[in-house]
């Protein structure tokens, strides 16, 4: 008898999913655990190397780097979640609408998508963030404005191909209304690749947000945000490399964990993998 865990892809998924959850919980309770106030400047203690009191050292304003790195986790993780959630919802909604109903709705939205896609992603985000002014919320808005197009395109093409599938024809012959067909057949059958895209996007979005902050277009000082911290620390690279090492490693590890999670989601939702499940469980087909 095959069990859920017989497949290594599923084990990987469970492991990385658990890691992500732990990371999220940790980032939420971090402010309660850190030894120092992440915002408290103390110029007398500026640029102290990692020590007993300051495990990661202090920055040029004498703030505890350890406390700042730990409390910064929540900003990076949850702004990326919100960003992916927003673009996933909006993009998918518009894509399904365009794909299923076609006609003028489709033309209208797809022209917008074409235009937005004609901008190199980050370029427009930089411009929008520059217009709107700094702030993590503005950075999320700037990136969301251009990134939903990916989901719109993907869901539209999924819907277009599913729409021509025989089981949709059969459902229509079976007297189901359009709304029912969309809700019961089209969306459930196209959600897989979209979820994969979304979970692979979390890490990438985290990097984009941090990138904007790094450029001074995202989080505003004195917020403890990794990209911003790296920006503040980069002039001290020679004298205080810990200003680079700790936020940088935190950023890298978080992105890596979410990327691994995304990969594992792809592996278990991949149609090829699904087929192999069907083959192993549905051997009756050839019997």
């Amino acid at each position: 008898m095959k069990t859920f865990f017989d497949n290594p892809a599923r084990i990987r998924f469970v492991v990385f999913f658990a890691l992500c959850i732990i990371l999220c919980i940790f980032s939420l309770i971090a402010p309660m655990l850190v030894p120092n106030d992440p915002g408290k400047a103390d110029l007398a203690n500026a640029l102290i190397p990692p020590s007993q009191d300051y495990p990661f050292g202090t920055d040029q304003l004498g703030r505890c780097l350890y406390s700042r790195v730990m409390t910064g986790a929540a900003t990076s993780i949850f702004s990326a979640f919100i960003l992916v959630g927003v673009i996933f919802t909006i993009g998918t909604f518009i894509g399904v609408l365009s794909g299923y109903y076609g006609g003028k709705i489709d033309t209208f939205f797809m022209r917008i998508v074409d235009v937005l896609l004609a901008f190199p992603g980050m370029v427009l985000a930089i411009a929008v963030a520059g217009m709107l002014g700094s702030g993590i919320v503005n950075a999320v808005i700037a990136i969301a404005l251009i990134s939903w197009t990916k989901y719109a395109r993907l869901s539209r093409s999924l819907v277009l191909s599913i729409k021509e599938e025989n089981f949709i024809h059969a459902a229509r012959l079976g007297g189901a209304s359009s709304l029912k067909i969309v809700a019961r057949h089209v969306i459930p059958n196209s959600i897989g690749p979209l979820v994969v895209a979304a979970s692979l996007d979390i890490g990438a979005m985290m990097m984009q947000l941090a990138g904007l902050s790094f450029l001074g277009l995202g989080a505003v000082p004195p917020a403890p945000e990794w990209g911003l911290m790296l920006n503040e620390g980069r002039s001290m690279l020679q004298n205080a490399p810990w200003l680079l090492i700790y936020p940088g490693s935190a950023m890298f590890m978080t992105v890596a964990i979410f990327n691994l999670f995304g990969d594992s989601v792809r592996d278990i939702l991949d149609p090829k993998f699904q087929k192999s499940i069907i083959k192993t469980t549905g051997g009756i087909k050839n019997a």
Partner: protein, 304 residues
């Protein structure tokens, strides 16, 4: 491709962006020129700039100017935006081209090797490297490179100077992230291609494995890889902004980040349009190459 509607869309969107920005261009112009702002003067300048006219008229006038090559005067430097962009453009293009070449030189053999040695040690190692490349934010790679190559080993200057030495680190930074992504996708493309029936057909005809790989599979994989390049051009052009800023490379990205600090709207506007046009042109190029390589599309075109 519907080039004209897209170009119109680009300009409309860019103009709209400016229009909706919270600050008043007239006020910005005055302050940048050091003229004290009073409501009278402001009103006058606004009239002069046509800011009291309806949106569409403003857009029309602006558009005519753009077509003539007049993108306004930069608040930051006082020079025409057009000249400013034109003088920085070559740096960005050079950076993009070199990073792309570097990426392909690295990613092609690695991706193919990874596919050929599927699920062997080499494959795992290459995939591990590509994963690291993908999970590393560009600015972090940049800082690490500066720290080790420039500060610790003193091999290259911290701040880039125009020239080979200067462009090396920025392009390595850009290429690192892209290579990670490419290796993965090239591996997937080659693996998929090797599953196709014509490969079995070639094997059944006794054609050498190496010949199948180099003359058949790779050639056909190129088609997907070109599409891939087209798709990733955007993220690369966007990525130049960060890299140029870190290395102080005098390209368009560095220019626009400085401009944002100055709230230099005409320059930002010009940057967005230039980048979009550059992107569209590059995409057109990849599309053309694709058509040239794929006989199915090429011949169909000739028939039609």
């Amino acid at each position: 491709m519907h080039l004209v509607p897209i170009l119109i869309g680009i300009t409309v969107l860019t103009f709209l962006l400016m229009h909706l920005s919270p600050s008043d261009p007239a006020e910005r112009l005055l302050t940048s020129q050091g003229i004290p702002v009073s409501s009278d003067v402001l009103e006058e300048v606004r009239k002069e700039m046509g800011l009291d006219k309806p949106f569409l008229t403003q857009y029309g006038n602006w558009m005519i100017k753009i077509i003539k090559g007049d993108m306004g005067i930069s608040y930051m430097t006082g020079r025409p935006v057009y000249d400013e962009l034109a003088s920085h453009m070559p740096y960005t293009v050079a950076l993009a081209v070199i990073s792309m070449i570097l990426t392909l030189v690295l990613a092609m053999p690695l991706g193919v090797l990874s596919a050929v040695r599927e699920n062997k040690l080499t494959d795992y190692f290459i995939r591990f490297l590509s994963f690291i490349g993908m999970s590393m934010p560009g600015f972090l790679t940049a800082l690490i490179l500066i720290y080790f190559v420039s500060l610790k080993m003193n091999l290259l200057p911290v701040l880039s100077q125009p020239g080979i030495k200067g462009i090396l680190l920025p392009s390595i930074t850009l290429a690192a992230a892209m290579t990670g992504k490419y290796v993965r996708q090239i591996r997937a493309v080659v693996l998929e291609e090797m599953q196709k029936e014509y490969v079995k057909g070639a094997r059944a005809r006794g054609i050498k494995e190496s010949r199948i790989l180099y003359f058949n599979v790779l050639k056909n994989s190129m088609l997907s890889i070109i599409t891939l390049i087209g798709l990733s051009l955007g993220s690369m052009l966007g990525g130049t902004a960060i890299v140029e800023t870190v290395f102080v490379w005098p390209g368009l990205g560095k220019l626009v980040i400085d401009a944002i600090g100055y709230r230099d709207y005409p320059l930002i506007q010009g940057y967005v349009i230039w980048m979009a046009v550059l992107f569209v042109v590059l995409n057109l190029l990849t599309d053309l190459i694709y058509r040239l390589i794929d006989p199915r599309i090429r011949l169909n075109k000739e028939v039609a």
